[in-house]
C-alpha cells in the first residue's frame, strides 16, 4: 500500500477510477489486485460502445493460475479501451495506476462517484483483508 494515489476513487472489488473532469472516467485495477494475481498473461477488454452497469462484470484479467473478473465501478458507456494491453498485459503489473488502465466510461450519473472509496478507506479495506 506504499502506493495508493489519493486522487483516485476505489471500488471494494479492487478497481480504481479516475475522474477526467469531462463526464468520463478511466478505470483500472489496483496495485494490490495486480500483486495478488501475479504475472498477467491476458486481458479480455470490453467492447467500445458497450453499456455497463455499476457492479457488473465487464473485463477479465488473467494470470497463469487465476482469472479474475473486473467489475465496472460505474454505470455508463465504454468510450475507449486500452488496446495496448492486448499485446502487453504485463503493463498492468508494471504500472497499474498509469499505463495499465483498462477502459474509459462516459458516466450516466456523475453522482455515482461519491459511492466509491477514497484512498484511505481503500487502504483500510486492504489491511483488513490481509488478516
Amino acid at each position: 500500500m506504499s502506493n495508493t494515489p489519493t486522487d483516485l476513487r476505489y471500488a471494494k472489488s479492487h478497481e480504481w477510477v479516475r475522474d477526467e473532469g469531462d463526464g468520463t472516467v478511466t478505470v483500472g485495477i489496483t496495485e494490490h489486485a495486480q500483486e495478488l494475481l501475479g504475472d498477467l498473461v491476458f486481458v479480455d477488454l470490453p467492447e467500445v460502445g458497450a453499456q455497463l452497469e455499476a457492479g457488473g462484470d465487464c473485463a477479465v484479467v488473467e494470470s497463469v493460475k487465476a482469472a479474475s473478473d473486473v467489475y465496472s465501478p460505474v454505470t455508463g458507456e465504454v468510450t475507449e479501451v486500452n488496446e495496448a494491453l492486448d499485446g502487453a498485459p504485463e503493463t498492468i503489473n508494471e504500472d497499474a495506476f498509469g499505463d495499465g488502465w483498462i477502459f474509459k466510461v462516459k458516466l450516466d450519473d456523475a453522482g455515482e462517484l461519491d459511492n466509491l472509496l477514497d484512498a484511505d478507506a481503500y487502504n483500510a479495506l486492504v489491511a483488513e483483508e490481509d488478516h
Binding site: 498473461v41 491476458f42 479480455d44 467492447e47 488473467e62 494470470s63 497463469v64 493460475k65 487465476a66 482469472a67 473478473d69
Partner: protein
C-alpha cells in the same frame, strides 16, 4: 487378496501405528445406520484364468462379421507399432500431465498432436482432445455462440446432411443453455445441402453454420460456397470433417475466402479400433482469435530455467479448475491415450501415406457401389461426388436386407430409413482400404441371393420374420 500387497504382519503394524485395533475402526466416523451389508447380489471374485475364459467366450460370441458399415466409425488398418507403443505403461498409466517436469513425454506428444491436427485441417490451433466427434461438435457450437459476439440469437444452422447422431448429441448438450439448432434440408438430387433452403435464412441472426465434409451420405459438400455464405451472413463456419478425408480434401482452414473458423470431428480413423464405439476422441481446432473460447487442455511450448525447450499445459484460466462456473467447458479428463495412438499413427503414415489410404477407401467404395448397382433394382440416388461412403437404394426394406445379410455374417451398411424415411429402402455403405475384391464379391453375391429370395414380385411382400 487381488492387487492388495499387505501381509498379516503389515496390517498389524499399521493398525498399531494408527492406534486402532481393527480396520473396521477406520470407518468410525460413518454413522452405523449407513453401513451396508455384504452385497450378495455382486458375484464373487474370480482368478484371472477364469475371467479370461469368460471374456474369450464373450468376445468369440460376437463373431467377426465382414464390415461394410461406416456411419461414423471406420474399419481401418492400424500399424502394429501404434498400440504396442501406446500401451507402454509410461503412457498408459500416467495421469493428466499436471507435473510438467515429470510428464514431458505426454506433453511433447500432445504438442506434436496439435501440430499434426493443425497441418491436417489447415487451422491455427488445436486442443488436446474432447470425448468424441459428436460431443466435440456440441462444444464447437457452444464456442461459436460465445465467440460470435455480433450474434445474440443463440441459434445455429445445422444441415440434415450432418450425421443424425451428431445432431441428437449436440441437441442434448446445448439445449439446457437455450441454444436452438435449426435444420436445413438437402437437395434430393445431389445429396448436398440445399442452397435454396439455406438462402431462406440469409440475413437472419445465427451464430454459426455447421458444414460437414464429407456429409453423412458420404457426399462432398461445396465447402467454399457454404463457408463464404456463412461469413457473408455474419455467421461463423463450423467444419465437421473426417480427418482421413482431410488428407486428400481441401483443408477446412482454406475453405472459401477466409476458411472455416472452427473445425471438429471424430478422430477414430486415426488409429482407434472400432471397439464398440469407444474410446475414440473428438478433435477441435480453430482460428487463433478464438483460442480463448476453446474448451479442454491445450499444450504450449516454452523454456525452462536454463532456457531449454519444454512443454506445459497452457491457457488454463479457460478451464474448470481455475475458472469454475465461468469455464469454457466442464471437461477435465479427455481422451489422452487415444490421441497418443493417433499421433503415432499419423507420424508413421505421414501425409502421403494417409492420402494413399484415403484414395484406396474411395476407390474401394466406388467399386463396391458399382458392383452392387449391377444388381437388379439397386441404384445410387445421389449424384454428388463421394469420399468413402455411398447411399444405395434397394428393392426391399433396408431393415430386412440388412438383417438377412447379417445372418450371412455381412454387415451390409447403415439403415437410413429411420432418419430419412423419404429415401425409402436406402442404406449407406462403406468399403475401406481393408476390403478386398473377394470380399466385395461376397457382399454382391449375398445381396443378390437376399434380393432374389425376398423380391419375387413387383408388389413387395414383407417376409414374416
Amino acid at each position: 487378496m487381488p492387487f492388495i500387497p499387505h501381509t498379516e504382519e503389515d496390517i498389524q503394524e499399521m493398525l498399531t501405528a494408527i492406534g486402532v485395533d481393527s480396520i473396521d475402526a477406520l470407518f468410525d466416523e460413518i454413522p452405523d445406520e449407513l453401513r451396508c451389508g455384504e452385497l450378495d447380489e455382486i458375484p464373487a471374485g474370480m482368478p484371472e484364468m477364469e475371467v479370461s475364459r469368460l471374456m474369450q467366450g464373450r468376445a468369440r460370441q460376437d463373431g467377426q462379421p465382414l464390415c461394410f458399415l461406416g456411419a461414423g466409425a471406420y474399419d481401418h488398418h492400424i500399424p502394429a507399432a501404434v498400440w504396442q507403443l501406446t500401451t507402454r505403461g509410461e503412457f498408459y498409466t500416467a495421469y493428466t500431465p499436471y507435473q510438467a517436469e515429470a510428464s514431458q513425454g505426454t506433453l511433447q506428444l500432445l504438442y506434436e498432436y496439435q501440430s499434426m491436427m493443425t497441418a491436417l485441417t489447415g487451422m491455427d490451433v488445436s486442443n488436446a482432445s474432447l470425448y468424441d466427434g459428436a460431443s466435440a461438435l456440441a462444444e464447437a457450437v457452444l464456442m461459436a455462440v460465445r465467440g460470435n459476439r455480433k450474434s445474440k440469437s443463440g441459434r445455429i444452422l445445422v444441415p440434415r446432411t450432418l450425421h443424425p447422431l451428431y445432431r441428437r448429441v449436440t441437441h442434448s448438450i446445448v439445449r439446457n443453455q437455450g441454444i436452438e439448432l435449426v435444420e436445413i434440408d438437402y437437395d434430393s438430387e445431389s445429396g448436398q445441402v440445399d442452397l435454396s433452403s439455406l438462402e431462406q435464412h440469409a440475413g437472419e441472426d445465427f451464430a454459426a453454420l455447421v458444414i460437414p465434409q464429407p456429409n453423412f451420405f458420404g457426399v462432398l459438400e461445396n465447402t467454399d460456397r457454404l463457408t463464404d455464405w456463412a461469413h457473408a451472413n455474419g455467421m461463423l463456419a463450423i467444419a465437421v470433417v473426417n480427418p482421413l478425408a482431410m488428407s486428400i480434401l481441401k483443408p477446412a482452414g482454406e475453405w472459401g475466402e477466409s476458411g472455416a473458423d472452427i473445425c471438429c470431428g471424430e478422430g477414430q480413423p486415426m488409429g482407434a479400433p472400432l471397439a464398440s464405439g469407444g474410446p475414440y476422441f473428438g478433435f477441435l481446432c480453430c482460428r487463433e482469435k478464438l483460442v480463448r473460447q476453446m474448451p479442454g487442455r491445450i499444450i504450449g511450448k516454452t523454456v525452462d530455467l536454463d532456457g531449454k525447450p519444454g512443454y506445459a499445459l497452457t491457457l488454463q484460466a479457460r478451464e474448470q479448475h481455475i475458472r469454475r462456473s465461468k469455464a469454457t467447458s466442464n471437461i477435465c479428463t479427455n481422451q489422452g491415450l487415444m490421441v497418443t495412438a493417433a499421433t503415432i499413427h499419423m507420424a508413421i503414415m505421414g501425409g502421403e501415406g494417409l492420402q494413399r489410404v484415403a484414395a484406396a477407401c474411395h476407390a474401394n467404395t466406388k467399386k463396391l457401389a458399382q458392383t452392387l448397382c449391377d444388381l437388379p433394382q439397386v441404384e445410387s440416388p445421389f449424384t454428388g461426388p463421394v469420399f468413402h461412403e455411398q447411399v444405395l437404394r434397394l428393392p426391399l426394406a433396408a431393415k430386412d436386407a440388412l438383417r438377412a445379410l447379417a445372418a450371412h455374417n455381412v454387415l451390409g451398411g447403415f439403415d437410413l430409413s429411420d432418419d430419412y424415411p423419404e429415401l425409402e429402402n436406402a442404406i449407406l455403405v462403406c468399403a475401406t482400404e481393408l476390403r478386398s475384391d473377394e470380399e466385395i464379391e461376397q457382399y454382391r453375391s449375398k445381396l443378390e441371393r437376399v434380393i432374389a429370395a425376398q423380391v419375387q414380385t413387383p408388389c413387395q411382400l414383407k417376409p414374416d420374420w
